[in-house]
């Protein structure tokens, strides 16, 4: 369930910019390190814990904002309208930079983080011996994921920026031509991904301690994302997050099915439902186009020209 926090970051960037963000794990690491180091510093200086937490989170948010701006300005910005694979490769580059920079600035040891309770409840102990062990951290994680998903759904569906984000995901060029400021949009996307990474870092940092191996979480979250491990988030969000399930089937068929489902669910309740499931589902219809992996088929051969020539 906690993986869904990391997986959200992937989905977010993919949904909003069509880029598969390999750097999500590194962003979790950076956010976690920024948080835990500033927190420790404040506590060591003698501030009360709540002030330290507020300062630490504020500091981490600022760091993620700077990172988002830098990434947009120097990496993704110059690569606008490039091939999906090129953007993917550039996020690999960003991963290396972030991993190196984060550890160089904030240190590379394992730092314990204590924001959430890590002990467990034993439910129904009176009904049968042993009861059911429920990890409090899992509950917190699920709660946070639920709030996050709901908030993001509203953001994507209801706000102007959210609509612009979806437009950019569909087609960079078309979005630019109708006057959407693409650099601002991408900054927002990376910032939101950074904030999601920060949230993931608070939970995972409590579980594992903030350390380098936290970056591998991202890779582990990926299968979860695809198989649909989201399903354990309770309540209405379960329905919404089922959107992560269709990719389990063959992408092309799921895509068309899903598009049809989206069209048919245009009632008021359905809209919210679809909005939430949107977060999980864009992958299925984005890969739908023929096989070339792009939505605009006419340009599919262009990336290979240089190789066939040599």
């Amino acid at each position: 369930m906690l993986y869904s926090l990391v997986a959200l970051g992937f989905v977010l960037i993919f949904k909003a910019s069509g880029v598969f963000n390999f750097a999500q794990g590194a962003m979790v690491l950076l956010a976690g390190l920024a948080l835990v180091r500033s927190l420790d510093l404040m506590v060591a200086k003698g501030f009360p814990l709540w002030a330290a937490i507020i300062f630490g989170i504020g500091f981490a948010v600022v760091i993620m904002a700077i990172t988002a701006w830098l990434i947009e300005r120097f990496v993704i910005g110059p690569l606008v309208n490039q091939d999906g694979l090129t953007l993917f490769m550039s996020t690999i580059g960003v991963t290396f930079i972030l991993e190196g920079a984060a550890q160089m600035i904030f240190g590379s040891d394992a730092y314990p983080l204590r924001l959430f309770p890590t002990d467990a409840w034993f439910l129904f102990e009176s009904h049968f011996p042993g009861g059911i062990l429920v990890n409090k951290l899992d509950v917190w994680g699920g709660l946070i994921a639920g709030i996050l998903v709901a908030g993001l759904a509203i953001f994507f569906q209801r706000t102007k920026t959210g609509r612009a984000l979806r437009a950019v995901a569909d087609d960079h060029l078309a979005a630019q031509s109708v006057g959407i400021p693409i650099s601002w949009i991408w900054f927002v996307v990376w910032l939101v991904a950074g904030l999601v990474a920060l949230v993931a870092a608070t939970v995972w940092g409590t579980k594992l301690g903030v350390q380098f191996s936290i970056t591998f979480l991202a890779l582990k979250a990926l299968p979860v994302l695809i198989i649909g491990g989201f399903t354990s988030v309770p309540g209405a969000i379960v329905g919404g997050l089922m959107g992560a399930l269709p990719p389990f089937q063959e992408p092309s068929s799921a895509g068309s099915l899903w598009v049809r489902a989206r069209r048919s669910l245009r009632c008021s309740w359905g809209r919210i439902w679809v909005a939430v499931s949107n977060i999980g589902s864009p992958m299925c219809w984005r890969w739908r186009c023929c096989s070339c992996g792009r939505r605009a088929c006419s340009a599919s051969g262009s990336s290979n020209v240089s190789e066939t020539r040599s």
Binding site: F20, F74, V75, P78, L79, Q82, D83, T86, M89, S90, I92, G93, V94, T95, F96, I97, L98, E99, G100, A101, Q103, M104, S108, L219, K220, L222, P223, I226, P247, E250, P251, M283, W287, C290, S291, C292, G293, S300, G301, N304, S306, E307, T308, R309, S310
Partner: protein
């Protein structure tokens, strides 16, 4: 002027189909191979600059060759066949561990059948090659999902190989010959009675492997199989329609890619010495190993981003551009 094809007539089909149809290319390649096979060993044996110490050879040239082999394998799979794979590391591990196991002897106790399969320790060369075969089988096995899924989904499916083999080699003590620490010591590199222990001998060994496989890959890519791969990459449905069987094309790519990966793994375990701590002292920079590692990350990442922005098609594109420019040089057209 220098790079002009004028006057080089192709009079036979064989000449027309040659790997390097331009004479200047052949000369350049011959010079390069000459430097690599004769020049470097000569300089290294007499310790002439820049081979004053083993550092350049051990810390730069050996990893360079080994990683070049890895890049060829990934290039076949991802670049030519278009199958995005994140499992190359797993195939390297398979190559490394199977070369190690075959090199130290395989013993599979089959107690419930009442006998055991025992293979005596094999010579290094055959254990490396057999390790390659093992990796090919594993690669084909984990390449099967590519027949049904593509793109990001395939990348995740191949990631499964990575996690699976990581887990297997850590958890099953049989693979490490029950070593308590889980790490293995490679057997000596013994080729037909000739023990390769100096860096220059290992360099030559790697160079031979890289050359053989580069020639192999270049020829495969030019040939029938390579055309099938490229057709699958460009559009798999169209490729199927013109009669290319995705099963064959994709699985051969996976098999070959993992063979090369496994060779790299074997090379890593058998050849590559630990050189990490050498770097700061060699450069004379008062930095800790840790900082250097992080700096390396940053520089590496920045290079990727810079190159992607400046030249999204990489050095290969720069070279082909350079060739075209050279053809006209010094006249503008």
């Amino acid at each position: 002027m220098l790079y002009r094809e004028a006057g080089q007539f192709k009079t036979t089909y064989a000449e027309d189909m040659a790997i390097f149809p331009i004479r200047q290319d052949r000369i350049a390649l011959a010079i390069l191979l000459g430097i690599a096979f004769i020049g470097v060993p000569l300089l290294a044996t007499f310790h002439i600059w820049p081979f004053g110490s083993d550092y350049l050879l051990r810390a730069i040239l050996l990893p360079f060759l080994i990683l070049a082999l890895a890049a060829i394998g990934v290039n076949i799979l991802v670049g030519y066949c278009g199958q995005i794979s994140l499992g190359s590391g797993a195939f390297m591990a398979i190559g490394a561990y199977s070369a190690y196991k075959l090199g130290t002897g395989v013993h599979i106790p089959l107690a419930w059948l009442g006998f055991a399969i025992s293979i005596p320790p094999l010579p290094v060369l055959s254990s490396i090659l057999l390790g390659g075969l093992t990796a090919a089988v594993a690669g084909i096995l984990f390449g099967v999902p590519s027949l049904r899924i593509k793109g990001l989904y395939l990348a995740v499916a191949t990631l499964a190989a990575q996690f699976f083999f990581d887990w297997v080699f850590l958890r099953v003590p049989w693979f490490t010959n029950y070593a308590p620490s889980g790490s293995v010591n490679a057997p000596a590199l013994n080729f037909f009675g000739l023990v390769l222990d100096t860096p220059i001998e290992r360099y030559l060994l790697c160079l031979i492997f890289v050359t053989v496989f580069a020639v192999l890959a270049k020829n495969l890519v030019r040939g029938n199989l390579g055309r099938q791969w490229m057709a699958i990459r460009d559009m798999d449905i169209a490729a199927e329609l013109i009669g290319i069987r995705p099963l064959n094309a994709k699985l051969t790519a996976f098999g070959l890619g993992s063979i090369m990966g496994s060779l790299v793994g074997a090379a890593f375990i058998l050849i590559l010495p630990i050189v990490l701590n050498l770097i700061p002292t060699q450069l004379g920079v008062p930095l800790s190993t840790e900082t250097i590692t992080h700096l390396e990350f940053i520089i590496f990442g920045s290079l990727i981003c810079y190159l992607l922005i400046k030249e999204p098609h990489g050095f290969a594109r720069l070279i082909s551009l350079g060739k075209e420019k050279l053809r006209l040089w010094p006249f503008p057209y």
